[in-house]
């Protein structure tokens, strides 16, 4: 009926289609699970419920005189000058983590005023502020 070449081509196109559909499915599924949303302390105040399985990023300023250290953890307060959020963090902080400077913390929200962070983001230079932070500050 059909020549060998046609069959070969048909098989080829079929395999390509299958693999494209499969990759789209897998990619979207993984995206759903692994996307981290960025919020400001005010956004968090306005949450209707706190999902304590989902990771989020919170950006703002480190409040002056808010850093407290013990032998395992670091506590500090992120503020957008309207609302505040207490953060606890175990791990190493980037060089430019300082009181009065911009910061982005990633972790799981325990309740509307407490974040259990596992990552604090580094910045490149002293004048640089993460775009999210400057926007979050601008909006308020």
């Amino acid at each position: 009926m059909y020549g060998k070449k046609v069959k070969f081509r048909a098989l080829f196109i079929f395999l390509i289609l299958i693999s494209i559909i499969l990759s789209i499915f897998l990619v979207t599924k993984s995206l759903e699970e692994n996307v981290v949303y960025f919020k400001s302390p005010t956004d968090i105040k306005n949450f209707t419920e706190v999902k304590n399985t989902e990771k989020i990023r919170v950006g703002g300023m480190v409040k002056k005189n808010s850093i407290k250290i013990n032998d395992k953890e670091i506590f500090f307060i992120i503020t957008d000058f309207k609302n505040e959020l207490l953060v606890n963090f175990t791990g190493s902080v980037p060089n430019l983590f300082e009181e009065g400077k911009g910061v982005v913390a990633e972790g799981i929200l325990k309740d509307k005023s407490f974040l259990n962070a596992d990552k604090i983001l580094a910045k490149h230079d002293e004048n640089y502020m993460p775009p999210e932070v400057s926007e979050a500050l601008k909006n308020n």
């Binding site: 070449k5 699970e33 996307v35 981290v36 250290i69 490149h124 640089y128």
Partner: protein, 626 residues
Amino acid sequence: MSNYFGNYSLYIALIASIYLIIKSYIDTNINIKNLNKNLVLITSVQTVMIIISFISLVVAFIISDFSNETVFNNSHTLKPLFYKISGSWGNHEGSLLLWLLVLSVFLYIFLLKSSSQNIKYRLLTLLFQQIIISGFLIFILLTSNPFNTVFPIPSEGLGLNPILQDPALAIHPPILYFGYVGTSIIFSTSLAAVVAGNIGDSWAKHIKSWVLVSWIFLTIGILLGSIWAYYELGWGGFWFWDPVENVSLMPWFCLTALLHTVIVLEKRNLFKEWTIILSITTFSLSMSGTFLVRSGILNSIHTFANDPSRGIFILSFLFVLVIMSVTIFFFNQKKLTSTIKNSFIISKETAILVNNWFMMFFLSVVLVGTIYPIFLEVLNGSKISVGPPFYHNLLIPFLIPFLVFMSFGPSLKWIKDKLKKFEYNLLIIFLASILISYFILINTEKKFLLSVPLIILSFYLLLVTINDFFNKKSSLSQKISHFGFSLLITSILLNGLFSNEFNANMKVGEERKFNDKVIKLNSVNVRDIDNYKSLKANFEIKNQNSFIQLSPEVRIYQQPFTITSEADIKTTLFSDNFLVFNILKDDGYYNVRYQYKPVMIWIWISTILISIGGLLSLIKKNEKKY
């Protein structure tokens, strides 16, 4: 002075570019036998002009000519000479000038090396490459001129960021750019070949060197970037799935696919369309890489100072190029004579096609992860980031079939092969790799479902590629690259599986337990050195059979005020001990991070091996010619 030289030579280069576009377009439409000598001459004039311009910038940096705005913003009299020079391409304006320089030098080399090729093809390549060059020239002159002047002349520059003063970072952008820009020649030549209708085995042979050159530079560029992140940034890893890293990885996947496809085109005269599509895609990815990094759209830790108008220019330019190439491809497609010869499912062609599928899958994953946040922000304004788990979940499971295919694919024959021939060698290798993996995995508590087959297969592939050295079937360059690649995968897996990390806040004299180790902070010494204050700590890490001392440092610079952490890393062939500390407050606590990273050095070594394979292939190719 150098400002004027630099500036005017750019204008001359632009005029040359416009002349060349017109002239080469006219020449392609009339039948001529030889390339007009003027064309080569004017291309060389243009190249010289751009070289002069680049040298003027470097000179301005060396003599700290602060009347130049770029120098004023990015240099400082106290900078060491090496970093003054590397500073000239470390910034946005200078880096574009470097792009341009490489574009025109590569074109010139192409004209010199392609004299045996069809005349129409050479003219068209010149035309397309000049379109790209003129685009960049206009872009530089309009939005990012490196020769803008400042008046009154400032007495001191602003740029002395110590984080950026690192040898790996200083040479990393040019090397990466050689790779990126090399793809422009691939792009221009494949479009030219489509129009001229000479896509085929001889063209493949000729273009292969350019693919190899770009691929080698890109590989080394990515390597240097990760070395910098590991040693200087002190994040304790070599790859973070940061958007800026991703944009260099995407063209790499594409180029790797192209490298394999070109071989099929050369040997079997197959996959013509696919080769063209890959060439166009590779260059588009390199361009958009520059666009994404320079526009500041990417929410990256590396984010550079940015200016939206620049991003829009590069984006529209890229858009024009893509539309142009798709149109050309579409209207000239018929010239690609179909040459489906006898092909069978089990053959080297199919194996390379499978390789391409995997590369395209890896590429799509990275592409989605990188641009999805931008896409979503434009769509509904929500700000998100895509973390490493996204990439790991999607890439790691597919490594299993990838490793299986890679273990037998390269040894298949062209046209038709059988899978039936059973080799005892391979069985022995397989059993050996199970045995090795058993001994490695028995001591861990982490027993991921995937880690067992992955480790077994990576060792299997490693042993197979070693075994291949004793067969004569394939070229030495391929053996080295494939061996390097399997070594890389094995090292990354072992590194990922057995790395561990300890974080704490410690005071001087304190001791902490971590697994079977004891970590002690002995002392912190404060000293004034040159332009910074140094706090050098002394840690000791003990366990039953080893004792390591590590001295990480924190440097506090005043001009500009910057704190940097210098990690201390003790490297052996088996593992790295990585320690970095930081100061949060004046309360005696130091923020400490200790990492144990097995086989770290093999990640670097294997990547170097991969590129050596490419280099060997390039050298061999050139030897044959003469």
